[in-house]
Symmetry: C2
Subunit: 747 residues, 2 copies
């Protein structure tokens, strides 16, 4: 019997291998972005996957992983690409040999490999090969042990990522519990609060099953060990259970861990329905297939290295948010449930527009999940994790997602309800914790038309609220509410209220600068302001780059003064007209003030196109792509931010870029001769870049579906209806696209 | 063996009975207040008891119980004396005979009896005698069945009180789960959200054990029944389990149900540690003993009927809040944990002052619990239930509790932290849901010195905030913060900003009336106001009595215009001086504008004393006590409000009354010749009313510890140090106490 199975395995393996290598998921290298500041999660995950099973390394980090570090064990919940205090890292499994180490003493590791849905490493200390894969709500572990009379698998219900305490953003234990059910089963939970988003307590329940009976079982609570108690009820301490066996050389022990945010019985049900068998390879292959079917929605003609960067970028864009249908412990409703919007400030610009093209049903589900949160908790989140809203970085940017969906024709959303939720953002201040949700500083904004230096993040909030007002105005107009359109389209111009036309830097005039509530510019930059809502003293000049307490959130005035995505013509006028604007952009890029690692500047290379200089856009885009994205561990510029950096690459390498929140895509300069996007409606959108080379980066002319295209932008229906965009490339800059600049609120 | 046990039982019963009847707990009649609007909980409970095991009747109600109704079953969590939408009613046990009824078809009942810690009724339909008692975190059921081959005990994990949907205040199911562990054991939980306080989801876990093995077990989910599945994982539906037996005539089956807000394992641990045996009588007696030891802290000399009313009132005052140490699922800390502050607006006036005298350690614990909530969630609650703050009726009245504690010398509270929490209330508006916590309408209050008609509850909030400011000012002063004292003592005068000295009613001038934000009185009473924060249109004249949307919360201007407990002298001046004030009070009482059922008027009968007319206070108090409190089911005036009505009776019947938030007790007219309060420090405070009779209700003179007492008030140290107050009573009104009126902010 065993031999027969083995034979079949060999045959199947041989049969599958050739196809396998041709599949695009093979280009995913989950380690890209694990060094530098990428903070991506390299473990096993599915698209939108609730379970992210991966290594947690000594010292902890946002993703759990530290490249070249030492592994404590493998836990089931993670986020990817984030900064600040860590979230999750719940329910850790740790293989050990010899005396059990309860404090998760870590082990160096080697022979590391990961692919979409799979992770493996050899733990040098216990000499155990660890392999991980996932089904929907289940983590699947396979450990290959050395010969030992005391091989153990620890299930640590008290573990969580503890990182970011220096900023007061660390998670805190609320409690944990284990209950050993048999010599192969244990269940329990981990309850944790806070972390980056300062969320309320969330509970991760688990049910774990081993495929080998333990010879010895013990449980623990805090520092106490028990060989006679199989249950450790929650008393606010860390708990866990260890299963000990005798193992032969290369003996494999598998552990399946069902995860739930509802209960242990639900965790068990998740395990039994999602992963009823013990076939690790099958599960691994199914995970790869899931990724492959998603990733193969885009075909590109690039080099192997380009494909590696491209598909890994795309992979990263689909790690978050996570789908949690049936796993909402706070209310029941018919709506889809998603968590780990982390944060929409990051993701509305690139991952969501990518999903809108490739997986629009998912985008609809996510917006409906946001509206469901609004209906049950009062506000859509800007960020949400662990079942709780928390931390609005800039604007109420879910507004942008909504109007983006409407403008691109997505069906299945109650836009009347959506409008209501946007009005709530625009009219009702969130109160005590103005970082939690809604629009902080709203009292100022709605009274003065800008946020004064009495509030933190006055600059970035004012600019983002103006763009949110633009989305709200257009949503209202679409629903026949012209009264509201008139009101909020005025707000869309509020960025001008912080435009100090006298402020000068590097020969450029006009910057978004701090203004007092009395209407006077806050000129005394040496004294600087203290935000009324708890902020620290922060300096601000045009280069000051801050965090929560600053005038700009994670940005500076050089960057944010170019953030008026709905009225670039208006911005151009404020900057002194077309030539001054182009000069300003040149100054910005030539002095390396541009940071591709930061979302507020994502669109900036395209601003040239409004000034009729698409050639300069092409030049900048090519330069950024070549200099900042690489097929190695430090290959991502800055935090990946839930795939925001990745999706930026995906769009730009294909040769176009969304002005998120509007039905417009701007043409840049593609990296690939051929790109085909397979749409879920059965249509395809092809992009062909003729004569493309490293020198031929400039668009000479273009056709869309065979008709000459004179403008450097197109619309969603051009993609959705299927079609073909041909760009004729050359080495010389041209004035292609200059006659019909992209849309702008004012002309 | 059985006979011997029975003999012992007889002997013990005979031995115990004589003592039993002499014990004061025997005077508790849990049915007093179950008819009319009392809404008290008549089931089995302990002082501050987390588990309140009692009947839930068809149609549901705030307490679960409906006098003369039909019983669905017996659930473990309840509140007592509340109004609005119901809370709790989780984990219901229902004895049935014959075909199982899963929809909790109710049964008429008879032979009902209840005492402190015990409830029994005969269910007419199944012919089952039900008996209930409680240990700390355990409900203990004893059912006496008729002969049947199909007697069942249902454990309904999906049940909760559904009442108040007409006001949008009903609870909503989030989920439930059952897991049968053996033929005598089942565990699971019920997860519910909302209810009166609009709280987030809370989860009540249970572990139940029966003392008879089931012959047949089934489980259910929604409408589906399962004889082959012992586990029903949570999928957002109602679940339960039924244990079926053959029973002989009068066969008793006992069920112990451990309850926890943490987990099922904790629920089991609670059961095993709190109630390791099956002796129902022992448990019942221990519960009675707990009550007796609490209730016997006060000895009175009244009639049997008076004792019944008195001890039942005292009993009601100790049903809430509930102690939940070790049962907080939201964070861990060293602080005590209490829930069901419901609401402090009700309870700061009488139950908490009573606890401060009788059980000061508990009062300290509760304040520390409030501060712990502030530290972890941002605000102390005014109301809290099901682990969530929700619904501030008037002021941020936890402020009053804190200064009351300080003024009465309670130790073990971090008053610096307390001051910080009070300042938070006074400075940071709660935001979106201004009913949730903190001070709604704060923007107006801090800017205008009153709350304008732009906000709901503008009148009651302004008055209560002024009193809260008084507490805050004094707390600050006590901690050496004279700057803050100066700031907030100004706020204590803010009631004057809504005092319309021209408004006249029944010959009385000067009323708290609505004012617009522009400073003008809102004279147009026919058009009326619409509160900006979502309220309905509400009429207001001096009699308008409203709810959330009104100018006054659950009160009117006649009542609230006399609510200035910190500056009665100032109020008297505003009313036109001493004579006009007495005339106003006479008008108020003679026209029956006074409602003892409503907390804002609780102090009003004592206001005469500031005008030197303690005799009129005596007259009114006697009248109110005699006309409104009775030893029958409708014996409580209005909702008991977590014992607020009860504690009002306790104080006034003893002959004194606290001006809560200040170190002063006002002397009224006692009902009893002798009262002795046994203090936890070993001291006793005696009150003797010499020559007391139904006619001799007026104090002629008094001594305190043998020294003549010329003022109609005393202070906390007079009680705490022990001593004796002798009141010499007579039938003629006197001017006793007129020379030294009680304290007042201004003279």
């Amino acid at each position: 019997m065993r031999k027969v199975n083995f034979l079949i395995f060999i045959i199947l393996s041989l049969a599958v291998v050739p196809g396998y290598t041709q599949k695009v998921f093979h280009y995913v290298d989950p380690f890209i972005g694990t060094e530098g500041e990428g903070n991506v999660f390299p473990g096993a995950a599915l698209p939108f996957g609730m379970v992210k099973l991966g290594p947690d390394c000594k010292g902890h980090s946002n993703s759990g992983y530290i490249s070249g570090g030492q592994i404590e064990g493998f836990s089931h919940t993670h986020v990817s690409g984030t900064g600040g205090g860590a979230k999750y890292g719940n329910i850790m499994v740790s293989p050990q040999v010899g005396e059990i180490n309860f404090v998760n003493e870590s082990s160096p590791f080697s022979h590391e490999f990961a692919s979409a849905g799979y992770y493996t490493a050899f733990l040098d200390k216990p000499k155990v090969k660890a392999e991980l894969t996932v089904a929907d709500k289940v983590g699947f572990h396979q450990y290959t042990f050395p010969p030992s009379t005391a091989s153990s698998i620890l299930i640590d219900a008290g573990h969580f990522l503890f990182f970011g305490h220096q900023w007061g953003e660390a998670q805190e234990l609320v409690g944990s519990e284990v209950r050993v059910l048999s010599d192969t089963e244990v269940e329990g939970y981990n309850r944790v609060r806070h972390g980056w988003n300062f969320g309320d307590a969330y509970t991760v329940f688990f049910y774990a099953k081993l495929d080998k009976k333990a010879a010895k079982i013990l449980t623990w609570k805090g520092e106490r060990r028990y060989t006679d108690q199989w249950v450790q009820p929650d008393s606010g301490e860390k708990t866990g259970a260890a299963f000990t066996f005798e193992t032969k050389a290369d003996e494999q022990i598998r552990v399946k861990v069902g995860i739930s945010f509802i209960s242990t019985a639900k965790a068990r049900e998740n395990l039994e329905s999602n992963l009823p068998h013990w076939d690790f390879e099958q599960t691994k292959n199914e995970a790869a297939d899931r990724w492959n079917s998603l990733l193969s929605k885009i075909e590109i003609s690039g080099s192997e290295t380009q494909k590696k960067v491209f598909y890994t970028s795309m992979y990263h864009a689909y790690l978050m948010p996570v789908e949690r249908n049936g796993e909402n412990p706070k209310w029941t409703s018919g709506a889809p449930h998603y968590d780990d919007f982390y944060a929409i400030w990051d993701t509305y610009r690139t991952p969501h527009p990518l999903m809108t093209i490739l997986t629009p049903d998912r985008q609809v589900d996510m917006i409906n999940a946001l509206l469901d949160i609004y209906q049950h908790e009062g506000y859509m989140p800007d960020a949400r994790s662990g079942n709780d809203n928390g931390r609005t970085q800039g604007g109420s940017d879910a507004d942008i997602l909504i109007y983006d969906a409407y403008a691109k024709g997505l069906k299945g959303i109650d836009y009347e309800l959506a409008l209501e939720s946007m009005i709530k953002n625009a009219t009702v201040a969130p109160g005590d914790d103005e970082r939690k949700e809604g629009r902080g500083g709203l009292a100022d904004y709605n009274k003065l038309g800008y946020i004064s230096t009495d509030y933190e993040r006055a600059g970035s909030r004012t600019l983002e609220f103006a763009y949110c007002d633009f989305a709200l105005a257009n949503m209202a107009k679409a629903l026949g509410r012209d009264d509201l359109y008139q009101k909020y389209i005025k707000g869309a111009g509020n960025w001008k209220n912080l435009w100090d036309s006298e402020y000068e830097s590097h020969g450029v005039r006009g910057f978004i600068m701090p203004k007092r509530a009395n209407g006077q510019w806050h000129k005394d930059l040496s004294v600087q302001h203290r935000a009324a809502d708890g902020g620290e003293v922060e300096l601000f000049d045009e280069f000051t780059f801050g965090y929560w307490e600053a005038f700009f959130y994670e940005s500076n005035s050089w960057e944010y003064s170019l953030f008026v995505p709905h009225d670039v013509e208006g911005l151009m006028r404020a900057c002194g007209g077309r030539e001054a604007f182009v000069h300003r952009l040149d100054t910005f890029f030539n002095n390396n003030f541009f940071q591709v690692s930061n979302e507020p500047g994502f669109l900036t290379p395209y601003l040239y196109s409004w000034a009729g200089r698409q050639d300069k856009t092409a030049h900048r885009i090519r330069e950024i792509l070549n200099n900042n994205y690489h097929a190695h561990r430090a290959g991502i510029p800055g935090n990946d931010d839930s795939g925001s950096m990745g999706a930026w690459y995906v769009f730009n390498s294909m040769g176009f870029y969304p002005n998120a929140g509007q039905n417009v895509y701007l043409i840049g300069s593609p990296l690939f001769e051929h790109t085909t996007i397979h749409l879920p409606n059965g249509n395809s959108f092809d992009i062909e870049a003729k004569k493309l080379s490293d020198r031929n980066i400039y668009v000479q002319s273009a056709t869309l579906n065979g008709v000459s295209l004179d403008k450097a932008w197109f619309q969603h229906e051009n993609i959705a209806n299927g079609g073909k965009l041909i760009l004729f490339m050359g080495s010389k800059p041209t004035d292609w696209g200059s006659t019909s600049p992209p849309p702008s609120l004012t002309k």
